[in-house]
Structure formats: C-alpha cells, structure tokens
Subunit: 162 residues, 2 copies
C-alpha cells in the first residue's frame, strides 16, 4: 500500500504557519543545546524562511539591511554558519544558497527537489536513496561522509500550468 504523497510546498499553503513553526522549533532546539539564538541569528533564520526557495547570502543581506542597517557580508555568513551547524537550515550547493530545514534537530541526510519555475524546494529523507548511494559507494571503494543530492526539475503545480 504505497500512497501518492505530494509534499511539494503548495502555492496557497499557510506559510505564516511554516515560519512560526520553524522559529518555535529553533528556539526550543537552541535552548535544549544551550546555543544562543541571538536576535541577529533569529532574524536571518526568519529571512531564509520567507519562502521555500533557496536564498543567497547576499539576498539575505539585502533583506537585513532593507531598513537602512549596515550589516556587512561576514555578519550574514556567520549567522548562516550558526544556523547550518545547528541544522536549522541547509545549504543548496548547486545554487550557492540556503533554505530552511523542515525537520531541524534530528541530524539527517536530506535530498532536495528544486523547481526551476517557482524556485521552491521540497526536502525529503529517502532511506532508499541513501541505501542506493551506500551500495554504489561500496562497489566503488568509497566511504560516504557527506552526500549531496539536489534534483532540479519542475514541481507538478508548475508543470500543470504550462
């Protein structure tokens, strides 16, 4: 019994709830770990979560400075580094950009589906892909440490539109 699940972020979903949930989880998680989710870091997380599309560091910087602030690149990069370390965001290597993690806390190996039209990303955690990579690695004579799986294509919504 395998049901068809469409977990690509819908166009009209309650995104305010996404943001709120992400921030709440971040607060909880950082408290548990004794990590300091400073206002700056929290603000960057909020900015990354403004959409489900990967956001570049300099785009985040622009948003941070939209009110006339004068933050410099190292500031946003350091905040992003903190968020990465604590698994609150993921880096999308093929875009040099960052996206909020949908299941922060539990360290995990994720795969990313990135729509070339709407830009949105779906994060999955497929055991099957992980196992296939592991098997291929074994045949190749290789020990997996950090798998990067980023699939570009189109989400169904955008495909249906054309």
């Amino acid at each position: 019994m395998t049901s068809i699940i469409k977990n690509f972020p819908g166009r009209h979903h309650d995104h305010a709830a996404c943001i709120e949930s992400a921030l709440e989880q971040a607060v909880t998680l950082c408290r548990e770990r004794g990590a300091r989710l400073t206002p700056l870091r929290r603000r960057v997380l909020e900015i990354v979560w403004e959409s489900h599309a990967p956001l570049g560091a300099y785009d985040a910087l622009q948003r941070m400075n939209a009110g006339g602030e004068r933050n410099a690149p190292p500031t946003v990069y350091r905040a992003l580094e903190f968020l990465l370390e604590h698994g609150l965001i993921h880096r999308i290597e093929s875009r040099n950009a960052f996206v909020g993690c949908t299941t922060p806390g539990n360290s995990h190996k994720a795969q990313f589906f990135i729509c070339r039209d709407c830009g949105n990303v779906a994060e999955t955690h497929s055991e099957e892909i992980g196992e296939a990579i592991k098997a291929s690695a074994t045949r190749t004579g290789f020990l997996v440490e950090k798998p990067v799986v980023e699939i570009s294509g189109r989400c169904l919504k955008c495909h249906d539109d054309e």
Copy 2:
C-alpha cells in the same frame, strides 16, 4: 553474482593513458557532431584531465597562462562551457570545479564520489540511485530534469593510509 568493483582511480594507474583516451574520444566525438574542438578547447580539456580531481576554472586559467599567455576568465569559461555542452567534462557543483567525463558521448546521469584526502573523483552511473531518485520524486510530486549527486567522503586508499 555481484563482484566487488573498486573503480576509484588508483594511485599508480597509467594516467597518461587516461589523458590520451579522453582526448581521442573527444576528437572522435566532435568530428561526429561537427563540433569544433579548437586548440584552445582541446588544451582546456587536457588541463582538466591532468588529474582525477576537480579543477577550478581559475586554476585551469593559471595552467593555460603558465607559459606567459594572457588569457582572461571568459576564455576559459567559454571553453569549459563548450566541453560541458558536449559532455566531455562534468561540473562538480559542490566544489565549483570541473572534472573530465569518463564516458563521454552517451548522455548520462552520473554520480560523483569525491575523496576529501586525495581529491580524486570516481564517476558512476548507478541505475539504482536513478530509480530511487525517480521514486522519491514521484512521491514528492516532482519531475526530475537534472539530478546532482555528489558524495564527499574518502576513497579506500586514503582510508587505509591513515
């Protein structure tokens, strides 16, 4: 009967043969397609093939200019673009770098295993990984166009060394 294959480039393999083979295949393939493998493009391919480690565009540029030439970035980027278009090299997204394709000609979806110690890359073409990605995409509501699979870790040679 699944034998253990170790296709990571060995430390003492005949790399001159790798280079020669790659260049020969490139010549053949470009002739077949009526694509112009100019001396410049051929030279860049040769430079990318100097090792099995991904090479950055600016590193390639330095090699091109080692004899006092004055090539500028667009020159090497255009050559790399040509080589990519014809499947003679692959771009490694997670490194912003390029590596020679081991099976040029037949368009293919490849996975890359990248050793963090020796830097070498093994290119594989696992149906299993492709299928697992396809299945996950279907569940996610997504149409795959360009899968990026880049696995960082250690090759057995480097692991055995430590």
